[in-house]
């Protein structure tokens, strides 16, 4: 019951603020709404007992990436941009893409004749103390099975850092 309440609470916040993020004219408001959507997603991670990702989502996404976004929004001149039309004349393309995606999902339901996941086992809520410690299992998986992808990801971050510095620095 509590699971259900938490899920619908966070899902409503996530979807609502995502819609507002796409439709607001002001980019700063959009960034704030994206932050609330990401925080609501973090809540859903917690509801799924993924505590480590919950913390990573808050610290890295909201604390790192979104601060970067807000910073860049401050750097580029917003007053000029606000006077201009914010929406491209591509409403029909958007409608088409959304309908195509929804149609694919609908076709999937129609052809399988059941809801997704129906028949799959549903985990009953077990006591928190009986679950394995989340950060520990993630660390074991990350540093044993996925060590090479982890190192590649760190190289990718290094490349991105150098690239961002080179892109953003003044030409002399």
């Amino acid at each position: 019951m509590l699971d259900k309440v938490l899920f619908y609470f966070f899902a409503a916040i996530a979807v609502g603020s995502a819609v507002l993020m796409v439709t607001r004219r002001n980019v700063v408001h959009g960034a704030i709404f994206l932050i609330t959507a990401l925080l609501a997603t973090a809540g859903i991670f917690l509801q799924l007992r993924a505590e480590f990702l919950f913390i990573v989502q808050i610290i890295l996404y909201v604390g790192g990436i979104m601060v970067l976004f807000v910073f860049v929004i401050m750097l580029v001149n917003l007053d000029v941009a606000l006077q201009q039309i914010q929406f491209a004349r591509q409403k029909w393309v958007a409608l088409l893409v959304a309908l195509a995606l929804a149609g694919q999902v609908g076709l999937m339901f129609w052809s399988s004749g059941k809801m997704p996941g129906q028949g799959l086992p549903v985990l009953t809520a077990s006591a928190v103390s009986s679950l394995p410690p989340n950060s520990e299992t993630v660390a074991h998986s990350l540093f044993e099975s996925y060590l090479l992808p982890f190192e590649i990801a760190s190289v990718l971050l290094l490349v991105a850092m150098i690239g961002a510095v080179v892109m953003a620095k003044k030409r002399t």
């Binding site: 995502a18 796409v22 997603t41 993924a50 970067l68 941009a81 591509q90 958007a94 997704p116 991105a160």
Partner: protein
């Protein structure tokens, strides 16, 4: 946890909203934020299935996606700053230097 369909529908809704944002908005920063939303929707799927099967690999993949999103945001925002310095615009349909 709830049946997996709930999470799949939430993820689908966020994904479609993100796609609509990418297609309809002119401001490049908002387009980038919509892409972050799409990546986030994928993460919900991965974590939900990781919980369903009791296998932590899905959460590790979600971590990689978050690292990817950080790298992408850093490079893209660097490009936006460089472009804004040259052309004084952040609207994507005015970025037509390669068009003839």
């Amino acid at each position: 946890m709830l049946p997996i369909g709930h999470y799949l529908f939430l993820s689908l809704a966020l994904f479609i909203i993100g796609v609509i944002g990418v297609v309809t908005r002119r401001n490049v920063i908002v387009v980038l934020m919509s892409i972050e939303l799409i990546l986030n929707a994928v993460n919900i799927n991965l974590v939900a299935f990781s919980r369903l099967y009791g296998d932590v690999a899905g959460q590790v993949f979600a971590l990689f996606i978050i690292a990817d999103a950080a790298a992408e945001a850093a490079v893209a925002l660097g490009i936006i700053i460089a472009f804004f310095r040259n052309r004084e615009t952040v609207l994507e349909d005015e970025m037509d230097l390669l068009k003839w």
